[in-house]
Symmetry: C2
Subunit: 262 residues, 2 copies
């Protein structure tokens, strides 16, 4: 576990979800905590509810299937505006105010994350302009980190043919952590709960350490369910691909929450 | 005139306005022409009419004074979404498809362009969240260009205190060209006409070469008027600050149009 926190040569990838980035007070606290992290770091953000709100103001109906937004052409315009514009650039400006050399990026910038449009499912479900990641330019990310730059990444990718694609922010964070894993990296998923809980309505039931074996048992007995399952599958997939450690936590405990290992 | 086109060590800064970037056919032609430019290059874009359209869909009234948008908090959100999100990232994705290592930026990214909020005029006119440029990080831009990166810049700046500000795209292009002028740079303002015309409704009256003395005479006799005056003042100001040459032209003649010299 060379890549544990405390080792200053390692990088940190922090992913924050929609609820945090649209509440100015929570965002401020998150950015304060993020600023304190030592060593090279990357912030990956979502922005879901602001996009849903803007879409509804524009009379576009947001369709969600299995936690994934169905992205028609109009919805892609909205998420490009909200994620890559509004949310991303406000975070960048606020990090600059904290002395961090932030650089807002999508997967199209610097050809960072190539993806392909998700094929229509056998059941005939078309997710629209949604991209599944093909490759992430780890060396280029490392170059930015070595220049003292802090990438702030919005969850949009591109297909190399000029088409932007909407990609799940957890997946983007995971693909970035994996791409720079060889230099040592920890990955933190920040969401509204303090970590993985045995009882989601009781924060005192926090599971401080979770292995893949524990996970399988807790899914089998129903303790872990719903949206937490793909989040944890992402975590184990990142660990298997070389990421040193994964945490699931809230913005108040970036170094705490649930530590996930294989 | 060491910095003339043909000298491959020099950089090109191309500014394109709103009408071009929102018409897919014109944008495609512009990006094809831009791709052909040899040597390091920067694209600065506006996006005015899409922002006006989105603002109107959201029930926000766009106020313009002297060619400058009055930017209240809601309008700043809209221009951040449209300029830095929709327009910028679509251009970046389309340049990647042409093999260009594009990087979309605002003045907040990499602390590239610092500005201050424009003071209320003696007449009591408040432009809102509009930034007047204080300094542009020329060395950082040069570093990007030396890495083979093509910056694509949306006309937003920041005050270093976390506040994004809306800045005129011609001014952004000029400040960037000046910031990298020591290494040799040409600046091209692309708009809907083929250049500076003696009779704006007759393209055959193109003035191929314009000096500052010519300009003063043509303003005095009324040949040059309206929005062309600040555009040309920007041009002369750039030349005085060391930019090698300035052109005003349309997307079909990036190497033609009106060549402006002191």
């Amino acid at each position: 576990m060379k890549e544990e926190q405390g080792d200053e040569s390692h990088s940190s990838v922090i992913k924050v979800g929609g609820a945090v980035v649209e509440d100015p007070e929570q965002l401020k606290e998150l950015l304060d905590e993020f600023t304190k992290i030592e060593g090279p770091k990357v912030l990956v953000h979502g922005g879901g509810r602001s996009a849903t709100k803007l879409a509804s103001q524009l009379g576009i109906e947001s369709q969600m299937v299995g936690g994934r937004r169905i992205t028609d052409a109009e919805t892609l315009r909205v998420v490009t505006m909200v994620y890559a514009g509004l949310v991303n650039k406000n975070i960048v400006a606020q990090l600059q105010a904290r002395g961090i050399l932030a650089l807002g990026l999508t997967g199209a910038d610097l050809d960072l994350i190539r993806s392909h449009r998700r094929p229509i499912t056998p059941e005939g479900l078309d997710f629209g302009f949604v991209g599944d990641v093909d490759r992430t330019a780890g060396e280029r990310l490392q170059q930015l980190l070595q220049l003292g730059i802090t990438p702030v990444i919005a969850p949009l990718t591109h297909d190399g043919q000029g088409q932007l694609l909407n990609t799940n922010a957890d997946t983007v964070a995971q693909s970035i952590a994996v791409a720079i894993a060889s230099a040592g990296v920890s990955l933190t998923f920040c969401f509204e709960l303090p970590g993985v809980l045995s009882n989601p309505s009781d924060p005192s039931t926090l599971i401080p350490h979770l292995t893949e074996k524990d996970f399988q048992a807790l899914v089998a007995n129903g303790t872990i369910a719903g949206g937490m399952i793909p989040k944890l599958e992402n975590a184990f997939s990142a660990l298997r691909a070389g990421v040193g450690s994964v945490r699931i936590t809230d913005i108040h405990h970036l170094q705490g929450g649930t530590l996930i290992t294989l």
